[in-house]
């Protein structure tokens, strides 16, 4: 017999929970849903654009009635549950239906708070919560009529903007002298008020409403100082109250909301609660992102899986008023032990404030330029030490989201190309968010392909998303799982592999309750890397968990052929090698021979079956794999240095070759590049390499965390050393620290920013013992890694099946 699950509330949190539950356990429950409203579940967030006439009700329906039928859910719309009888395990409704439950889900949301003053019951006084409210407002709206919105928070301002779009004269009345005081400081609030005034809204600040005037219909509003203004419509948007009466009457423990634990269970363990009606760890949430996280965890327990925990959310908000760019997250009040960083450009209408405590971002308010909102939000959520980038922080994540687009996404026209890799326009993204009900960056990526290739437009896509939905949806869980196959983060997994001494992928998946039989293209390569990095002596490389390039040691091309780049040690070659390359290119008809951007030679357009033979001939000339295909050590660029150059201070070429001999063959979380320059003119571009060495007269400067590519980042200076031996030791230690603590596919530049230069200096520079240990571990793992994969395949008999077709035989 199926378990009976009853859900009270047909809103965003309740139905999301059921959707998540159906994904996990489609047949476990007989589900009944009660909703007071006459509709299927809809996207409440988008009521604001409906009011403004930018969208229709049909646009915002999330689940049509057919969806309930298809999933065998009994839906009672227009039914309000009036009693929960916990003894009989039964709910009663206003229309006389009683339904028994084995488990109950309360998702009753909240109600608009109506200030108890005289006149608040008059026709023409409305809240702003549901479709009915919007209908009421639209019925009363009309050119030139007067609307008064009480409350200058997000909801009030979005209502006011909507009514103004409908042609009304709108006055916003606010009790304090600071709009959106929950989200904005005084400066940002003033900028916001000025620009809303420019658009035609009127404001009465620090004004207390004492009565609403009129006989049957509203005619005006009176304030404490006796002043009166005319009104045909009054919108109360002074706050919401969690809808907990039903739970209270059933004896379920409530404070401000229904109190739940980390598994979303109430005081009665058969009864779960999610959404705005809930109080979790003393927090109430009024945004959708945290409710969706609750829904996921709740579904996990309803499906009897029992491992997920909800640990609270960090939230951010945006105001959905077209043309106004505003972002707020965390605690923006400056307290005793915090300080603030401020950037102000009044003529451009830009204001940015970050509140910093203990070198961590605690809050952010951005006005006029919010492109870095999600970056700050990520730094805040991940509790990143920002001391290393404090001086640059306010200027934003350099070159973020564009190579010259400059403007914020909201200022761009609908036709602007946002994603240059996949040719996705702004309009394609906004349309998909609305029509396909997308909520997260991952949703947008998979539906539109925007931001799914090189990722440089991610910030723009996030901006469009958060503007359309009014909040940061991508980053809000406090922890981000490695991929959809697991609940665990990169760091959790690395820790478990080490502590539990796991050495195979199936062992990790088994121990950590993987949700899929053998993972996916995201987690398998990551696990394979973590295993061989942690247990170089024991773990066996799993080639089926490698991306094709690393599986067959060449770069796949768009037409399925391959390219190969032999290692050119420190950029030095000789006639013998060049002759061999020329002969091979002739013999195998290699269509393109190219100098790469990394001082090497690329042979492009090779058929897969020809690879082993070509590698064999390259080997004979002394040439080995350059790992141009791997998350591995790539090039070591050098300049001419003191051997020939009139400015050279040290022998950059020999240093580069030694470094390359040290580090070749190593697998790293992302690709790893080095360079050595012979003097501070820095001709080998060492300051945009993962590890860069610059010779000076008295020794060598070591620079770390540089990156060319998508987002240019200049290195930080790690330290200065005197001898070549020291350069090698520090380099080994640095690579090993990166190998052990970075997430898979996290390049050194973002890793340095996340983990902090201070920590890296501690481990690699200040503490000689940790440096030595790191370097020793690196050398140990190199013993197993430094085998030329081309030789193994050309003459060593490894993986021959990759290069041959299956035999066929007629039968």
């Amino acid at each position: 017999m199926k378990e009976k699950l009853v859900c009270i509330g047909n809103g965003m949190a309740g139905i999301r929970t059921i959707e998540e539950l159906l994904k996990l356990a489609p047949d476990q429950h007989e589900i009944t849903v009660f909703g007071s409203e006459p509709y299927g579940n809809y996207n409440r967030i988008l009521l604001s654009p409906v009011l403004a006439g930018e969208k229709t009700i049909e646009d915002i329906i999330l689940n049509e009635k057919e969806w309930y039928q298809e999933n065998n859910i009994t839906l009672y719309t227009n039914y309000t549950v009036t009693v929960i009888n916990r003894g009989k395990r039964e709910v009663k409704t206003d229309k006389g239906i009683n339904v028994k439950y084995d488990r109950l889900l309360i998702a009753t949301g909240s109600n608009p708070f109506i200030i108890p003053i005289s006149g608040s019951e008059l026709t023409g006084v409305v809240g702003f919560r549901d479709i009915q409210d919007v209908h009421n407002m639209l019925d009363m709206a009309g050119q030139g009529k007067n609307a008064v919105v009480i409350g200058g928070g997000i909801l009030g301002l979005e209502a006011a903007n909507g009514l103004m779009q409908q042609g009304m004269q709108v006055t916003v009345v606010h009790l304090l002298d600071n709009l959106m005081e929950q989200q904005l400081d005084k400066t940002a609030a003033t900028l916001l008020q000025l620009s809303l005034e420019k658009r035609g809204l009127k404001f009465l600040m620090a004004a207390e409403t004492t009565a609403i005037l009129g006989e049957r219909n509203v005619t005006g509003v009176r304030f404490k100082d006796g002043k009166e203004i005319p009104a045909d419509l009054v919108v109360m948007a002074v706050g919401i109250r969690p809808s907990i009466k039903l739970a209270q009457q059933a004896g379920i423990y409530c404070e401000r909301g229904i109190v739940v634990n980390d598994t979303l269970q109430t005081f009665d363990p058969r009864i779960y609660a999610v959404g705005e009606c809930v109080q979790h760890r003393n927090q109430l949430y009024g945004l959708v992102a945290p409710l969706f996280e609750q829904a996921k965890v709740c579904a996990n327990h309803l499906a009897n899986l029992g491992y997920a925990r909800y640990e609270g959310s960090v939230v951010s908000t945006k105001l959905k008023v077209t043309g106004i760019d505003l972002f707020s997250a965390g605690d923006f009040q400056v307290k005793e032990d915090s300080d603030e960083l401020i950037f102000q450009d009044p003529s451009q209408g830009i204001y940015k404030k970050l509140v910093i405590e203990n070198n961590r971002i605690k809050g952010a308010v951005l006005y006029g330029d919010t492109i870095d909102g999600s970056w700050y939000f990520g730094l805040m959520r991940d509790n990143v030490d920002i001391s290393g980038q404090r001086d640059r922080l306010l200027f934003g994540q350099a070159h973020l989201g564009d190579s010259g687009h400059g403007k914020t996404a909201m200022a761009m026209s609908d036709d602007t190309e946002i994603c240059g890799c996949n040719g996705v326009r702004k309009k394609d993204i906004t349309d998909a968010i609305i029509k396909k009900n997308l909520f997260t960056l991952d949703d947008v990526r998979s539906h539109t392909k925007a931001s799914s290739s090189c990722g440089s437009c991610t910030a723009l896509v996030e901006q469009i998303l958060s503007f359309t939905l009014g909040s940061e949806y991508t980053n809000s869980p406090k922890t981000k799982p490695l991929c959809a196959c697991t609940e665990y983060t990169h760091a959790d997994i690395q820790k478990v592999i080490k502590e539990q001494h796991l050495i195979t992928i199936p062992a990790v998946m088994h121990f950590m309750d993987w949700k899929t039989p053998n993972g996916c293209h995201v987690c398998r390569p990551a696990l394979n890397y973590y295993l061989i990095c942690t247990w170089p002596e024991e773990a066996k490389d799993d080639s089926q968990s490698r991306f094709i390039n690393e599986r067959i040691h060449a770069n796949i091309q768009k037409d399925g052929r391959y390219s190969i780049v032999p290692r050119i040690w420190g950029g030095i070659t000789n006639p013998k090698e060049l002759r061999a390359l020329a002969d091979i290119a002739d013999k195998y008809n290699i269509p393109t021979v190219k100098f790469t951007g990394g001082q090497r030679i690329d042979l492009l357009g090779i058929e897969k079956q020809d690879l082993p033979a070509i590698w064999g001939e390259l080997n004979q000339a002394g040439l080995v794999s350059g790992h141009a295909y791997g998350k591995a050590l790539r090039t070591v660029k050098t300049c001419v240095g003191s051997e020939w150059c009139r400015f050279g201070t040290q022998d950059a070429i020999s240093m580069g070759i030694k470094l390359e001999k040290l580090a070749w063959g190593s697998w790293t979380p992302h690709k790893f590049k080095l360079a050595v320059s012979g003097c501070p003119r820095n001709c080998s571009e060492a300051t945009i390499k993962d590890f860069g060495v610059i010779a000076v007269d008295s020794g060598w400067e070591l620079h770390v965390g540089g990156n060319g590519g998508i987002k240019v980042r200049v290195t930080d200076l790690l330290c200065k050393v005197t001898t070549q031996e020291e350069v090698l030791e520090y380099c080994g230690a640095f690579i090993q620290l990166y190998r052990e603590t970075a997430n898979y596919l996290e390049r050194a530049a973002p890793w340095v920013e996340r983990i902090g230069l201070t920590y890296i200096k501690e481990q690699v520079v200040q503490n000689a013992t940790t440096r030595e240990e790191l370097n020793d571990r690196f050398l140990l793992s190199q013993k197993y890694a430094q085998k030329d994969p081309w030789q193994e395949r050309a003459t060593g008999g490894v993986d021959q099946h990759e290069f041959n077709f299956l035999p066929t035989e007629a039968v």
Binding site: K436, S446, G519, C520, H521, S545, I548, L806, A810, V811
Partner: protein, 103 residues
């Protein structure tokens, strides 16, 4: 009579891997999943002709190496939200593990 060809043995294909066989219908990728099932798809991704045999196999799916579309091995259908279908062939496995491809 359907056109059957013998295409080697299941042991020729690594678990969670694939091999290509040349046929008159073009290159066909033969996949072996972890549960030792064998599937065959035309070796052309419905997106931009990527070589599916070079993808990562997981469950009864393969991820195309070029742009990460996921393709269902059982019927060649592309996993939503992407759309498309790769031609799918029947492979029979006899008791000794010999593979017979129906064209």
């Amino acid at each position: 009579m359907s056109n059957n060809i013998r295409v080697g043995n299941i042991s020729d294909i690594p678990s969670l891997g694939a091999r290509v066989v040349k046929t008159e219908k073009g290159d066909i990728a033969i996949f072996r999943t972890e549960d030792n099932k064998v599937f065959a798809l035309i070796n052309k991704c419905p997106h931009k002709d990527g070589s599916l045999a070079d993808g990562i196999v997981h469950g009864h799916k393969v991820t195309c190496p070029l742009h990460n579309w996921n393709i269902n091995l059982e019927d060649g259908k592309v996993v939503a939200p992407d759309e498309g279908c790769a031609e799918h062939f029947v492979v029979n496995v006899d008791a000794e593990g010999n593979l017979f491809l129906q064209l």
